[in-house]
Symmetry: C2
Subunit: 334 residues, 2 copies
């Protein structure tokens, strides 16, 4: 596994599965997007799975069971929404070491139920197994796309790049927890970052706008703005230029970054765990799209443009001094 | 977690989720069966998730990557079939420690692809994460039920209990591997048990018979014949009597049991990992049902009857001397 980074590994696997199964006309979107889209009896079903593991994605001592349950479903819903899908139902696979209290399990499901009820989806249950190697959760969400699925592929030269929410806050929250910064609860700005990390809100509210505007491509930001922009750029074979001066860095992010000794801009670009939407939309429509989202309480900002075609996809950053340089980085599992 | 065994824990969870989400008319079968059944736009979709973890379900040193990939999908397909569903597509979530070779990952997917191709289902990909705590696989299978889903609930007094295949072989195979018995490959009877454990074949072939006969209830045997019969009995509120003399104990099981120093009958009753079907069907139809399955290469035997109603469900065994006693045991995660 050290021979290949995660991205090449996944890319190889995608190619292989596409070759074998992608030719089936029921597969509208295969591996290599946020979720798979499948046609069954004329219905476009979206399906995704995500796994979170103790000491890889969270630590038991700072991730409350309620939040773990909430987040597990939230991150899979985010994938469904990024495809333009309406989430319908969730299943959870929970691995417990056996040391957890019954209250822990109850609170875990309380969090998952709470998120499901607030987004109107059904929690159908799942599988509980003994996991001697640590806590783990796999979450599956099934949804329906009415109309065409929105892929990573499809961004065109002349598109604006729009992002929802305030990237970087979740990563700052992670570091506040990981560094065991005390008194977070008494500082609303820091607390906000921690909440963003522990209880992300999937952008189900954005679905109507995603379908009523001529959106060309979308992805949810899970591993970091730059790496996910790179995925969209690669799938669309375009060059994306992000305007660093336009990145919406919140006051909460700036303060939390200071406390954890990290650079706010770096957290915003490469932090990951945002579960925000990155969207490519024709530039003339971008303002109206952002306004439509803001009108329903979803912050949205134009942060870049699709500047050229590019065979492998490329993400550049326009610095504050006007110079342009390649952007790299983000969370990679291997 | 030690306060409650797995079964009460799952039962509590089922009740809770049923109370909240089960009232939704789209939920045809909720948690507490082999898989959930959901109606979307008039289609009955079946969805299941299963998780396998290193050192809980298998050991890295005796589970080849190919077989792990195969089995991960096979056990979820088995759940879909037990609901009378036709499996359509699978997703995998794979957690790797990072120590695995690229060949390991390739072989894992080779096994999963091979099983998917042999059962005609689509492998849509999934999620690959870093799992510092050990290898893990979550498998999701989506299927469609044409007609009514077959539940655990529904067994009636006067039904025959039919089982496919030869229970206990997989458990014997597990012990052959766990005890590192040498020269298995040179002994076809032992090899057969190991194959049953490592590469179970889901009974997709039985689907037509499940729907063309008046089957009242079905469950797949994953945790052991007795515990899964108990689940059917509890859901159906009946008493089941298993005729121990009629259990199909194969020569392979008997030989392997001797080698690992276990009792063949105990392995058959409580071993688990069989992924065979346990079916309740009106007695007058049982012979014809078994013949229909045998005609397509699926061994099937009547091993018991539904003898009475019972408020909590009960499983009895009729011993070789004609006496009857309560049966207990099987694999429980906690």
């Amino acid at each position: 596994m050290k021979e290949l980074g995660e991205y090449p590994l996944v890319a190889r696997l995608c190619e292989r599965l596409e070759r074998i199964f992608g030719i089936d006309e029921r597969v509208l979107v295969g591996l290599g997007d946020d979720a798979a889209v499948l046609e069954i009896n004329g219905i476009h079903l979206v399906l995704t799975i995500d796994t979170q593991l103790e000491n890889a994605h969270f630590r038991r001592n700072w991730m409350p069971a309620f939040d773990l349950g909430w987040k597990s479903v939230a991150i899979s819903i985010s994938d469904i929404v990024a495809m333009g899908g309406k989430p319908v139902a969730a299943l959870l696979g929970l691995g417990l070491t056996g040391e957890e209290s019954v209250a822990f399990v109850d609170e875990f499901y309380e969090g998952a139920i709470s998120l499901c009820q607030s987004t109107g989806i059904l929690l159908l249950g799942g599988d509980t197994v003994r996991s001697p190697i640590g806590l783990m959760v796999s979450s599956v969400v099934l949804g329906v796309v009415e109309g065409e699925p929105i892929k990573r592929k499809g961004a065109q030269v002349g598109d604006a790049i729009v992002v929802t929410g305030f990237v970087g806050e979740a990563a700052a929250g992670f570091w506040l927890l990981e560094k065991e910064v005390s008194d977070i609860a008494s500082l609303p700005t820091l607390q906000r970052c921690v909440e963003k990390f522990r209880r992300p809100t999937p952008r189900t509210g954005a679905l109507q706008a995603l379908h009523s505007f001529p959106v060309h491509a979308a992805i949810d930001i899970s591993d970091g703005l730059v790496i996910d922009a790179q995925r969209m750029a690669a799938a669309s074979k375009v060059q994306v230029v992000l305007e660093l001066a336009k990145l919406p860095l919140s006051e909460s992010l700036r303060e939390a970054a200071k406390v954890v000794g990290k650079d706010a801009l770096t957290l915003a670009l490469t932090g990951g765990e945002d579960y925000e939407l990155l969207v490519a939309i024709p530039s003339p429509k971008a303002d109206e799209f952002c306004q439509a989202l803001k009108a329903i309480g979803i912050p949205a900002h134009q942060i870049g443009t699709v500047s050229a075609t590019h065979s492998e996809g490329e993400v550049l950053g326009r610095n504050f001094d006007g110079t342009v340089s390649a952007l790299r980085g983000g969370f990679q599992h291997f």
